[in-house]
Amino acid sequence: MMAPAHEAARRRAYLNAHIVAPAQGLNGKGGILIEDGWILAVGPQVTRETAGPGTAVTDCKGLTLIPGLIDMRVFTGEPGTEYRETLASASEAAASGGVTTMIVMPNTQPAIDDAAIVDFIMRRARDTALVRVAPMAAITKGFAGEAMTEIGLLKEAGAVAVTDGTKAVANANLLRRALTYARDFDMLVVQHIEEPSLATGVMNAGEIAGRLGLSGIPAMAEVILLERDLRLVEMTGARYHAAQLSSRHSLDAIRAAKQRGLPVTCGVSIHHLTLNENDIGAYRTFFKLSPPLRGEDDRRALVEAVADGTIDVIVSGHDPQSADTKRLPFAEAAFGAIGLETMFAAALGLHHNEGLKLERLVEAMASAPAKILGLETGRLAPGAPADFALADLHLNWKVEDDILRSRAKNSPFEHRTLEGRIVETLVAGRSVYTYSL
């Protein structure tokens, strides 16, 4: 993918693009000048004339230039279940979706609950992945919900946050201690918000579950745990991030907590913004997610909450599952859907059809996660790493197995046509993906 010009000229300029970089207040025509993987200048002042002699130039007329996306919730199968996904295959999927930093979840085998595993992930990513990778580590050893992990050592090794990933820390006293301890290291605590004793079902509780004869997970399973956790945050003062909201009722709790000045942020998966429980239809397991897809009222409220900033971050929740875990009766199938490659395109759907501002979407997928995790990427500013992507906002493409680079094909958007997609992705100034028909 690397253009020969890149090696000839260390300086490169992408000109005449529409730049959307909310953290820098950019939303208009301009260019970006990069050298050795770093950004030198960005904005309307970067033109063919100002780029200087010897600069390799790419004309981006008609394309939108955005900071590389940071996906805060990515599952891979490495280590342990590489047949599902490796860091390398996930990174290819990420690159094609404009994601330049993947935050990988600790739910691997063995779990990322030890500094040595964090180190393993970092080295494997460095050697095999096309995009940047940073792991979150477990809060409790082996996700058993009993003993706290070595949060300080994990942070030193490179973990950007602690979370039990797909599992909630149910024991209030344990979470309280973890929050208290994490605060000393300024470590972010990320929680999967579902009260386990209420979340025993397989889809949203309600009429559809009743008709399908499937056991339901009530929205209150989420709200109850979230409200409890927010009180623990109030007690401890630790930085807390609710990984994925699914219910409109959770929004009130988040709004109230933010109003009280608590150090709280939250995310939502792109699937909960674009799909609802009706999509399950006749037991389609690609729509079996955790937390479950809920009603259209919830979906709309979540979209609004992204627009008004109540929800900080949009994630893909990328969770590769193979046929042996998905081609099963609904109740027996695994939760999860892939999303790295479709997150941006699906988000564009919210922009095209539901009026969500593009700069807000980019913020939620780039600068907001960067800020929460303390990363230097996610922005287009002089001195920042040259991680960015070019998008054609109106290019129609069909989500089919052969176009998906993820090793797993469990996309809820399969066979759907999406409007707009990433056409080129650069990490540290190096092109890692170019779209070709």
Binding site: L212, G213, P329, A331
Partner: protein, 319 residues
């Protein structure tokens, strides 16, 4: 039946759910089943309709009455019937439902009669096989032939379905029989009630087209049919009712509670019964009970379903 043999009765290749079939299709099936009731009462019961056809009963969940009913139905129509109980064999070796189904499909059966403990499993399987699939009960979703045999029983006894008050009592939450019956009885114009403690009702039940009652006195008032459901103790993870004693006290059907219903109201139960829990033996074996007749209708209905589906198979039934 020679004249009607080639007339298609069902639109689909499979019978998976009552929700998918139209009132006209239900009427046609019931009418055909009515004829098979007469056939079954003769000394010579065999009918060479499905000679050379293969029917596999694939039961992922233990069943005595449904499986034997399907087996007898197939044999009376001269199909080659094979029973496969997979509850304990292949699945425990790590084979999935689909693997098992594909394996059997490769042997070219014409009918696959499937029961599975997971809702939607039969539908999943039907998407992957080329033969006709009959749902013999999937999890807590549907049990279409049970609803058909219940309707046939009611219609033969009371002459109609439309306008009747049918009270479905008990563990609606875990019951595929209840779901199929609610669909079918609504499609044929009955007034359907469900009577159960709230912990045994699915969420959103109010929108299923039923009146919801939480006590037997209100629920049974003036009912033409009292349909009891089995308390599915085996499906209950966690506490839904405090004890079977308490359940019997408030929701078990005995002679006293039956008096709330219309005099002579039919008492039904899909079986197997928990005597002394949801139904008292006096009532189960009493004059108003049609429980054994339901079993008889079951064979006729399943013959009708196999007959109807065979008309959609390329080559059809033998003429």
């Amino acid at each position: 039946m020679t004249a009607s043999r080639r007339t298609p009765l069902l639109k689909g290749q499979h019978l998976l759910a009552i929700a998918d079939v139209s009132p006209a299709e239900i009427e046609a099936l019931l009418e055909l089943a009515g004829k098979y009731v007469e056939v079954n009462r003769q000394i010579e019961k065999r009918h060479a309709l499905l000679g050379g056809r293969t029917q596999v009963n694939l039961f992922f969940e233990a069943s005595t009455r449904t499986q034997s009913s399907f087996e007898i139905a197939g044999k009376r129509l001269c199909a080659d019937v094979m029973n496969m109980a997979v509850a304990t064999s292949a699945l425990s070796k790590g084979e999935t439902v689909l693997d098992t189904a594909m394996t059997i499909n490769a042997m070219h059966p014409d009918f696959l009669v499937v029961r599975h403990p997971s809702s939607g499993a039969v539908e999943l399987l039907a998407q992957k096989v080329s033969c006709s699939v009959v749902n013999a009960g999937d999890g807590q979703h549907e049990h279409p032939t049970q609803a058909l045999l219940d309707a046939l029983t009611i219609r033969r006894r009371l002459g109609r379905i439309e306008g009747l008050i049918v009270a479905i009592c008990g563990d609606v939450l875990h019951s595929r029989v209840a779901r199929s019956n609610i669909h079918l009885l609504n499609k044929l114009g009955a007034r359907v009630r469900v009577v159960a403690p709230s912990t045994l009702l699915p969420s959103g039940i109010e929108n299923f087209g039923v009146e919801v009652h939480r006590n037997m006195a209100d629920g049974l008032a003036n009912a033409d049919v009292v349909m009891m459901l089995r308390l599915q103790l085996e499906r209950m993870s966690g506490a839904f009712v405090p004890s079977s004693r308490e359940y019997y006290r408030f929701f078990g059907l005995n002679e006293e509670k039956l008096k709330y219903a219309k005099p002579g109201a039919l008492v039904m139960h899909p079986g197997p019964m928990n005597r002394g829990i949801e139904i008292d033996s006096n009532v189960a074996d009493g004059v108003q009970s049609v429980i054994r007749e339901q079993v008889e209708m079951g064979v006729a209905v399943r013959m009708a379903v196999l007959d109807a589906l065979s008309r959609n198979i390329p080559g059809g039934a033998n003429s």
